[in-house]
Every structure is written in structure tokens, then in C-alpha cells.
Chain length 238, copies 2
């Protein structure tokens, strides 16, 4: 079945959340005389991401957009670092918006621009529509539409998220490619019948990264980066 | 409250559905020796649009994407013109896709491109995400995301559609402008607290148009076209 659309994981696969958050928090911490390493803070904040989504995935809590979970996680992370009394509520809201200003890896915009000529392209992220739209403004990501958690009202890897994306595009699952730098995301998409493409992002978690350094499944395509994925898609049909 | 986003009606306000459908059906009818006026056929097809959505708006039927309603309406319209036996199922599916290839009015792309620099912009249409994404590809509409019927699972003027759009953007209603060439659409948006902007499209229904020729409510802005609306938004704050 010919590919009609590519849908993308965003955090890690397309944008450098760790580096971007560290760069944005550094001057905030400095201005307040806080000595915490901003990259370590970013890691600790992000570490609360998956556990926070679990009750929604398991149906124990109603869906809430990721922006709200990030804000709660921020409060817990500040507590963990002994910084709870250093920020006003309005400052927390502003700090939480770093997730709307994450920088794309350098191959992303050229590759998306090229893919958009032949395919529909959309994020399929756990981020909200609002977050994805503002990230696209920040990074000039030329999406055709925004899919993902908000339209499914659940979080990946719940199969409903991949199915909702395919249905919203009015395509068959085999006409859609899930693109991610995380093997678990691709395994869940493949189980729903989507095609899969892996690109490694060995810098996502900083210099000590040990996970997702290489493809760990029989993904439809494995590329060094998104520009090479464009070349593979331009090649002979599978 | 400062404007953060503009959301747009699409059929009529941004794209010339009547002219585009007539232009696309003309060669199809000619090839089959069908003498029906394609513009009259477009009018008849579109006349079934609102009645088909009513059971969903009234909660009597589950939400289905507009693509499906258009296809049913096409079958009825062919019956009405005595043309039911002239098209195979695959031809009907292809004919139904004229709704993904509607041409924008000439002010639309320049105005959206300009608005996108300062605001989030999104369609808030009764069309599906798939239809809006493909229309954007066809007409080079530079959306930040796609809102509207699919994310609300209902049809305008159900207030839920405007509320779902505002919520998806994580804004207050007063930070969002509904832009339309239909007074009824704006009345429903205003009742939900959105700001409103009217642009007339006196050619939407062809030379005999009698409805929506001018603003019929106290809309926040009334402009001659979308480029003039950009100028008004750049002017002194209200």
C-alpha cells in the first residue's frame, strides 16, 4: 500500500527538549542566584513525564492535556530541588511554556519541507494541539494538521492514539508511516498496522544516553536522519 | 483582551466551492455526454449540506465526518438529476473529492500569510481534518493546526464546536476571532464569547446571491476582504 502520510513523534524525534529547556532555564536560574544545573533539572522534570500519563493511559483518570501535567510535574521538580519558594505562580506558568519553544534538530525543517511536497505530514505527539501549534511557530515546522493525544484524548502508546490519527486522515493504517526515535512508539504503531520509520537521536538524553541508540525492531525504514529517510522514501517501492 | 488567534469558516469564506465544483464537474459531465449545468448541480449538492448535519447537531445521530455526508448527498443529487446510473462507486468516491480541491479566493493566501506572523491561524469548519489538510495542500493555506467539527464531534453552529476550538488553543474565548462570511456562524461564535470578523463573499452562491451580502450583527470587525481585515487588526486596539 503506497504511503500517503507521515506522522511524527515530536519530543526527542524532532525537537531537542533537553538542550532547549536547559538553555532557557539557565538565565532564569542565574537571575535568581539558583545554582542548580539546568540540564539536570530538565532531566528530572522530564523523568516525571511518563509516570504522569499512566493514570490516563490506564483509564483511571480523565484525559488532561500534557501542558497541565507538565505544570504539575514542574511543581514537584522544584520541590525535589528545594526551589518551591523561589517562583510565583505566574513565573511557573511562563516557565512551563518552555515546552512551546523547543528547537528542532537541524535535519527536521529541510526534511519536513521536502516530505510535504509528496505526503501529508502531521505530529502524532503526546503534546496538545496548542503546544504543537506553538512549537510549529517557534521552529517553522510546516505541518498540514495536528494529530496526537488531544484528538484521541489519550496518550501514546495507547493504540487509540495511532488509530485516531489514521482515522482523522481518512487513510488505511498501511498508508501511514509513524516516524520516531523511540522503539516503543514504533512497536505500538506497528501493532496498529502502521508503517514505521526509525531515526536515532543519540543526543536526546545528553551524553550519557543508553536507550534507543539503534533500531530494535523490524521497522519498515531505518535511517540515519530525516533527510536520509526522504531519500529512502524516494527509492524503489517496498 | 488581546487577540491571540483567528479561526476561519472555510466553505464560502475562504474557498469558492460553487465555482470550483462547477469547473471540476464540467469535463466529467462532458465526457459522459451529460447536459446538466455543473453550477446548478453544485448548488443542488450543497443545498443538502445543512439538512444532512441537522440530526448530528440535534444529537439524534452519532457524529460522522462531513466527507461521508457529502457522499450520501451526492447520491441523492444524482438521483434528483436522473443521473444515478451514470457513475460507478469508484467514480462517486473520486467525484466526492472535489471538496478537497476547492480554490481559495484571491485575498486568502496573502492575508493568511500575513496573519500567521502575529497570530495562530486555524480553520474552524464543518469539514473534517482530512478534508481541511488536503484543501490546505491544494490551496497553499498555511495553517498552524486544524480545528472544527472533527475535534468537537459536532457541527457548527453547535456551541461545542467554537468552545472545542478555543479549548484546543488553550486560550480564553475573548482572545480568539471567528472569521466568516456568514452572519449565522458569527452569531453562534459571539454567543460563546469569541470576537468576530465579517467579510462579505457576494459571489459564493453565484450571481443571484441574496443572503449574507452584508454584516447583520454588531461584529467586532467588518472588512471588505481579508487583507483589509489584516489592516484593521494592525490598527488601534479596540
Amino acid at each position: 500500500m503506497a504511503v500517503q502520510a507521515l506522522i511524527f513523534d515530536v519530543f526527542g524525534t524532532l525537537v531537542d527538549w533537553r538542550g532547549s529547556i536547559a538553555r532557557q532555564l539557565a538565565p532564569v536560574f542565574t537571575a535568581k542566584g539558583i545554582g542548580t544545573d539546568p540540564a539536570a533539572f530538565a532531566d528530572a522534570w522530564r523523568a516525571r513525564y511518563d509516570p504522569a500519563m499512566d493514570p490516563v493511559r490506564e483509564g483511571l483518570e480523565a484525559y488532561r492535556p500534557l501542558d497541565d501535567l507538565h505544570l504539575e510535574n514542574l511543581r514537584h521538580t522544584l520541590l525535589q530541588f528545594g526551589l518551591s519558594d523561589r517562583f510565583e505562580t505566574a513565573e511557573l506558568d511562563e516557565m512551563n511554556r518552555v515546552w512551546e519553544r523547543l528547537d528542532p534538530w537541524e535535519d527536521v525543517v529541510p526534511a519536513l519541507t521536502r516530505l510535504k511536497r509528496d505526503y501529508l505530514i502531521a505530529p502524532c505527539s503526546n503534546g496538545s494541539i496548542a503546544m504543537m501549534a506553538r512549537l510549529a511557530t517557534h521552529g517553522a515546522l510546516p505541518w498540514d494538521c495536528v494529530l496526537g493525544a488531544d484528538i484521541a484524548r489519550s496518550y501514546k502508546p495507547d493504540p487509540e492514539v495511532y488509530r485516531a490519527a489514521v482515522n482523522a486522515l481518512r487513510l488505511d493504517a498501511g498508508e501511514v508511516v509513524m516516524v520516531a526515535s523511540h522503539n516503543g512508539d514504533l512497536a505500538a504503531a506497528a501493532a496498529c498496522g502502521l508503517k514505521t520509520a526509525f531515526v536515532p537521536r543519540p543526543g536526546e538524553h545528553g551524553p550519557g544516553q543508553t536507550s534507543d541508540l539503534r533500531a530494535e525492531g523490524a521497522w519498515t525504514w531505518v535511517a540515519e536522519d530525516l533527510v536520509q529517510l526522504c531519500d529512502l522514501l524516494d527509492g524503489p517501492a517496498l
